[in-house]
């Protein structure tokens, strides 16, 4: 089993030791540093799976945001970066996420929360930190969500959509795009797309509910280029 290596940068040596102790308990390898130059050197040497970055390094208030963008520039978007800060305003958190951080954790660090976030980002299912699930009342729990899809084929009777996620037959969906303004459909059938590893959903256009979208469908059909044989 491979051990994950976490690289932390904080100008407070006590924080570095604390994190080291916390994470080693959970089977992670921790490397710490307290200045930027050292950090960039260690990234190359140690090849961490994840970086914990203090947002308020040294004398540069808010310099932390700059560090996130320079880390991203130097090592790309694959590195997982979690920022730590005493700051907790939504504006600061959003700035960090927009600068390229994957997540944010507030100081003083809560061990359970830190480890849980690391486990999720490192894809390690661990049962040593379990947060109690709290019930959501059913009257406010209704939740709309969107899944991106691609139309693979379209005519005046059916729409075929490719989806990387499986959607059960019979599901009621609404389609949104420049052409489909929230029209509702039922999923008629779902088949596995062996080539792409996702699913093809079949939707039927019925004359009663969907009469008004037929012109849009014809418009799209006219714009579809012919298939080269």
């Amino acid at each position: 089993m491979t051990t994950n290596t976490i690289l932390t940068i904080d100008d407070d040596k006590d924080i570095n030791s604390l994190i080291s102790v916390m994470l080693k308990k959970h089977g992670m390898n921790v490397v710490t540093c307290s200045d930027i130059k050292d950090f960039f050197q260690k990234v190359v040497e140690v090849k961490p799976n994840l970086c914990l970055v203090d947002l308020n390094l040294g004398d540069y208030e808010g310099f932390g945001f700059g560090i996130i963008s320079s880390i991203r520039k130097k090592i790309g978007n694959d590195m997982i970066i979690i920022v730590m800060s005493r700051r907790s305003s939504r504006a600061d958190i959003n700035r960090a996420l927009e600068a390229g951080a994957n997540d944010y954790i507030q100081k003083p660090l809560d061990e359970n929360i830190l480890v849980s976030k690391l486990n999720v980002f490192l894809n390690t299912k661990s049962s040593d930190t379990k947060f109690p699930q709290r019930a959501v009342p059913s009257d406010t729990g209704e939740c709309y969500f969107e899944v991106p899809m691609n139309i693979t084929s379209l005519n005046e009777n059916q729409i075929f959509l490719y989806s990387s996620s499986y959607i059960a037959k019979g599901s009621l969906v609404s389609l949104h795009s420049e052409f489909f303004k929230g029209y509702k459909f039922g999923v008629q059938s779902v088949t596995l797309d062996r080539e792409l590893g996702g699913y093809i959903l079949e939707i039927h256009i019925n004359n009663n509910d969907h009469q008004h979208i037929l012109p849009e469908i014809r418009r799209l059909m006219l714009l579809s280029s012919p298939i080269e044989d």
Binding site: F131, Q133, F145, E146, I167, K169, L175, E178, L214, M221
Partner: protein
């Protein structure tokens, strides 16, 4: 609409001709739209997207042909069939029709039988091919579904829905409960794979990113599920 019934646009400044053709074609089951001048013809063209256009070439001082250019703009691959209506002799009409690349012609005064025969002949080819080659800007759609957030912890929420997720992806959630807790500023990331609850029903763990201690405090106020 059955696949035999077509959407037809008739462009002619003669009201009698329009009414006659409309009645005849509607009786046979087609959906018919009419336009008395080129400006309304253009408007109807882009509201209706017909399979077939019957076009009077003499309209607006022999300017009917300009409408062929309007059709081309929305139909780059020439799928809409165009039948020219003219007062020319059959021979001349054929020549002109060929010159402009239309799919047929009708000579005035239009004969019932000739009209129906022409329709029968052109009928099968009035079908647009299935769109299998849409550009990404047209093929991309967002599919919206309704699920339920059944539980929440300090690091994630559980979504129960008819979707089984396989990939880690950012997702937007519209949920009154999340709004009430003022957590809608957070980023939500699917943590696959979803687990089967019953046929067609799946639970998905969705990670919450960007919460501060205040948010956590609010979450901790909610009663934990026992067991």
């Amino acid at each position: 609409m059955s696949s035999k019934n077509k959407v037809i646009l008739i462009v002619d400044d003669d009201v009698d001709v329009l009414n006659y053709l409309k009645t005849l074609l509607e009786n046979v089951g087609h959906e018919v739209h009419v336009a008395r001048d080129l400006s309304s013809a253009r408007a109807t063209l882009t509201t209706v997207y017909p399979h077939l256009v019957l076009l009077d070439i003499n309209i607006e001082d022999e300017n009917g042909f300009s409408f062929i250019g309007d059709i081309k703009k929305i139909d780059p691959y020439k799928r809409i069939k165009i039948i020219m209506i003219s007062s020319l002799t059959s021979k001349k009409a054929l020549a002109v029709s060929q010159q402009y690349g239309t799919d047929g012609y009708l000579v005035k005064p239009i004969n019932n039988d000739i009209l129906l025969t022409t329709m029968k002949k052109i009928g099968p080819s009035c079908k647009f091919p299935d769109a299998k080659n849409l550009e990404p800007k047209f093929s991309g759609v967002m599919c919206k579904l309704l699920g339920t957030i059944t539980s929440i912890s300090e690091v994630n929420v559980t979504l129960r829905s008819k979707v089984k997720f396989q990939e880690k992806q950012k997702i937007n959630l519209e949920c009154e409960f999340i709004d009430k807790l003022e957590l809608n500023h957070a980023q939500f990331i699917i943590n696959p794979p979803s687990t089967d609850i019953s046929p067609g029903v799946y639970d998905t763990e969705i990670q919450m990113v960007g919460l501060n201690d205040n948010d956590l405090k609010e979450i901790r106020k909610i009663k934990a599920i026992k067991g």
